[in-house]
């Protein structure tokens, strides 16, 4: 009863092999597809049956592991979450995520992104530390809702590929890291925002954002990093103002 793949679509895939190619180039593949096949499944068909050297990351197939972000028709998308039928009749261009160095084909370097996450002190610093034996902290659904969206970031990096500021200045802290920072700052159990404020300040911090909002548009999980950036702009403005007051009082 399996649906027959009697339609085809052309995938124009960016190829780059650092051991052989001077520069990246596109290669076209004609892929048979069914109505429920994703771009990822199209790439898997190529790799399994046509060219085993085609290189991309993937794992969960259900838009939660964040591995398969790539530019599909010039937009940052999860390949597992983009259906070929929605791109028909094609051709479909498939390229590595913008703004990241290419390692091979559709694989980009992730290290800098992970370092940015590390830089925001991404762990809970309890406001009122207590041992496990004293039980869980209380957190009302409203308090949970204050940061829950930001905690849903799957680290897929689509927002960095969409962010014009990150494209211009790779040191810019960027949308996802800001969302993760706000996920902890906004958590009623956390008291560590003072430790995170330095990641927000400065040229490469939150003020680098030019408020285009592309990050939130492309987020597959409705995390709305733009909103996190805005909250941090408010927080840092307030922090600046309070420091100013403290300095003045000290005088």
């Amino acid at each position: 009863m399996t649906e027959r793949a009697d339609k085809t679509i052309e995938l124009r895939v960016l190829r780059y092999n650092p051991e052989a190619d001077e520069k990246p180039h596109h290669q076209s593949f004609t892929v048979p597809y069914t109505s429920d096949m994703s771009v990822l499944q199209g790439l898997q068909w190529i790799k399994d049956t046509v060219d085993g050297s085609l290189t991309y990351r993937w794992s969960c197939r259900m838009a939660i592991c964040g591995s398969c972000g790539m530019m599909i028709n010039a937009e940052p998308k999860l390949a597992c979450h983009t259906l070929l039928r929605d791109l028909a009749p094609g051709p479909v261009t498939v390229e590595p995520l913008n703004h990241f160095p290419i390692e091979r084909d559709l694989v980009v370097t992730v290290d800098d992104f992970v370092k940015k996450i590390e830089s925001v002190t991404p762990w809970l610093i309890p406001k009122h530390p207590k041992p496990v034996s004293e039980g869980p902290y209380n957190q009302t659904p409203a308090q949970l809702a204050a940061y829950e969206n930001f905690s849903a970031c799957i680290n897929c990096m689509l927002c960095y590929a969409a962010c014009p500021q990150y494209g211009e200045n790779p040191k810019f802290i960027g949308p996802a890291a800001m969302a993760i920072l706000q996920r902890y700052d906004g958590d009623s159990r956390d008291g560590g925002s003072a430790l995170r404020i330095d990641a927000v300040h400065g040229e490469d911090g939150v003020w680098g954002c030019t408020a285009v909002g592309a990050c939130s548009d492309v987020c597959p999980k409705a995390v709305d990093p733009m909103h996190a950036v805005n909250q941090n702009k408010m927080n840092t403005a307030l922090d600046y103002f309070l420091r100013f007051l403290k300095k003045r009082d000290a005088k």
Partner: protein, 594 residues
């Protein structure tokens, strides 16, 4: 070859590996920990766990009840002393995760909410909407960044263990980004590499779930225990096998056949009540529900989809608001991939392979028989799942036993001396040569992907929801043939940088070994118990002969040898497994008897 010296080496950085790393770092801050993963840790398959994690919380609940549900759910093949330890430690571990920031769903007053789950007598499943594994993984990944002694080796693929002087002492790693090899030597090694569900064609598992750690331990003489028990999850997406959480039924979802009939009442799970009731109907255990599907299909009472037969997961009566609040991911998956609005229409679902209940043989404190080697999480068989795992016991398992593994490995590392580096590096170079031989093999051999497809088809046929001895034997024969052909596969890609053609081929080697262990264990167990059900004269449980763990022993160039080991029984003598009204009657009779 690069050489990294560490005190503790952890292979796998999903939930169990991360929890182990944190535990080791806290127990012994002076020890260096190398945490290795073939993907970035947040891509690990823990991320896909949806429904929740068990831990006794309600005043009306008890550790005894969690123990009883787990042991009877496992059809009495559980190590009962280990289950006792497990249920005691689940709730503190869930609280620990809470203290680290895990965004558990809450009751209106701000206390932790728990939901119903299959086979559990009382609601005791902690959940973070329907993204529990995702939140546990990210909480652990980000918390692990706190500890300077944890050195991550992201996107390093393990090709072999280093075993010398009768001790596990390290591993050989292939860096995906460079294609170069690194030897890590360490005084203790923890394997936390997850399950092997990708040996089947339709499964809920990510592409990375290829049994690597199981095969590595197996090849070094550590038995794989109870591997014939592969869990089919009853509600998955036809075709891809993507999971629809049991939490959907915990929240009140119904399973219907093509006539709209709640068919589970025909399989000893009824009566069909309008409200969800623990251990009744849709909240029965996974093995029974998957088996009921099999019968419905043969009765012609399933619906047809482009990917074969399905039944219907009906959430429509829950209302859109509750679905979006409690099951947002399910709602999106149905909408995005199947074009089904779960608030308006039922979702077509079918069973798919979900979880490897057996694994690397370890004792109740995660130590393998090979000194210096520990295993935790899905790759291990610590003994809590028996013949059928209850939903929400695996996230709890990786927390409880990940921690134990970290602490045990730290203690072992502190109490042992460094090995002979020269000999270990010689071994590492030999492993490198073997991996390079595959990379450089010339000619027009078969593609490994073709072999993989034959393997998965054979596993579904001979080691599926129901097993027939002659079909299982055919699967064993097919696997032996595939292993021969595997020796001659050639790659399309002969480059070093990011060669996933190469790593996928190495993974297939791991998969074939684990698949053989599954198939021979299934062939040898001539009874029906939990997820291992036979239809060739062995339809009943046979405690006299098979109240025993199977142990598959690796033999180079030959089929694995299967032996048996006793099951530890502490306080629950094997009894009848019953659910629905029959379960209530059985319980009443038991209490009268007491």
């Amino acid at each position: 070859m690069e050489h990294i010296e560490a005190d503790i080496l952890i292979l796998g950085a999903g939930g169990a590996g991360l929890r182990a790393a944190i535990a080791a770092a806290e127990a012994a801050p002076g020890l260096s920990i190398a945490l290795v993963s073939k993907v970035y840790p947040m891509r690990s398959h823990t991320v896909a766990a949806e429904g929740g994690s068990a831990g006794v919380l309600k005043d009306t609940d008890s550790l005894q009840a969690h123990f009883d549900d787990t042991v009877s759910g496992g059809d009495w093949l559980c190590e009962q002393d280990v289950v006792e330890f497990f249920v005691e430690h689940c709730t503190p571990e869930m609280i620990q995760l809470e203290h680290w920031g895990c965004p558990w769903s809450r009751k209106p007053d701000g206390d932790i909410a728990v939901r119903r789950f299959g086979g559990m007598k009382i609601a005791r499943t902690w959940f973070a909407a329907d993204r529990t594994g995702f939140h546990i993984l990210h909480t652990l990944f980000q918390t692990a960044m706190k500890y300077p002694s944890i050195k991550r080796l992201d996107e390093f693929f393990c090709t072999d263990l280093l075993v010398d002087d009768g001790r596990a002492q390290g591993a050989v790693l292939l860096s995906l980004s460079t294609g170069e090899f690194t030897a890590v030597t360490a005084r203790a090694v923890i394997i936390a590499t997850g399950g092997a569900g990708r040996v089947y064609p339709q499964n809920t598992n990510g592409g990375i779930v290829t049994g690597d750690g199981m095969a590595l331990a197996f090849r070094h003489g550590v038995p794989l225990r109870d591997l014939e028990f592969m869990q089919y999850h009853p509600t998955c997406m036809p075709g891809s096998g993507v999971l629809f959480t049991e939490g959907a039924r915990g929240e009140g979802g119904f399973l219907r056949n093509k006539d709209g009939y709640r068919y589970l009442q025909d399989y000893g799970l009824g009566p069909a009540l309008p409200e969800p009731r623990n251990k009744f109907m849709e909240l029965g255990p996974r093995d029974r529900l998957s088996q009921a599907f099999w019968h419905e299909e043969r009765k012609g009472r399933t619906v047809e989809t482009p990917h074969g037969a399905a039944v219907l997961l009906d959430l429509t009566h829950l209302g859109r608001d509750k679905i979006i609040e409690r099951l947002p991911q399910i709602y999106d998956l149905a909408k995005d991939y199947m074009g089904v609005d779960a608030a308006e229409q039922p979702i077509p679902v079918r069973p798919a392979v979900h979880y490897t209940m057996g694994g690397i043989l370890v004792d109740g404190r995660t130590a393998a028989p090979l000194p210096g080697l520990y295993a935790a999480g899905e790759c291990s068989s610590v003994g809590i799942h028996g013949a059928n795992r209850l939903g929400s016991n695996s996230l709890a398992e990786l927390s409880v036993f990940g921690r134990v593994a970290g602490e045990q490995a730290a203690a072992f590392a502190q109490g042992s001396s460094n090995g002979d580096t020269g000999r270990l590096l010689d071994q590492a170079r030999a492993a490198e040569s073997r991996a390079l031989a595959l990379l450089n093999r010339q000619g027009k051999g078969e593609r490994h992907t073709a072999l993989r497809d034959e393997m998965t088809a054979a596993m579904e046929r001979g080691c599926g929801i129901y097993r027939l001895g002659d079909e299982t034997q055919q699967t064993c024969d097919t696997l032996a043939d595939l292993k021969k052909r595997y020796a001659d596969v050639t790659l399309d890609d002969h480059n070093r940088v990011w060669n996933t053609d190469w790593t996928t081929a190495i993974e297939l080697g791991f998969q074939l070994d684990v698949a053989e262990a599954i198939a021979y264990s299934a062939l040898d167990r001539k009874e029906s118990r939990g997820a291992h059900q036979r239809l060739d004269g062995y339809e009943n449980r046979d405690d006299e002969r098979y109240l025993a763990h199977s142990l598959a022993h690796y033999r180079d160039g030959a089929a694995p040898e299967i032996t048996y080991a006793p099951v530890t029984i502490t306080k629950s003598t094997p009894g009848q497994r019953a659910y629905g009204e029959a379960g209530v009657k059985l319980e009443e009779a038991k209490h009268k008897h007491d």
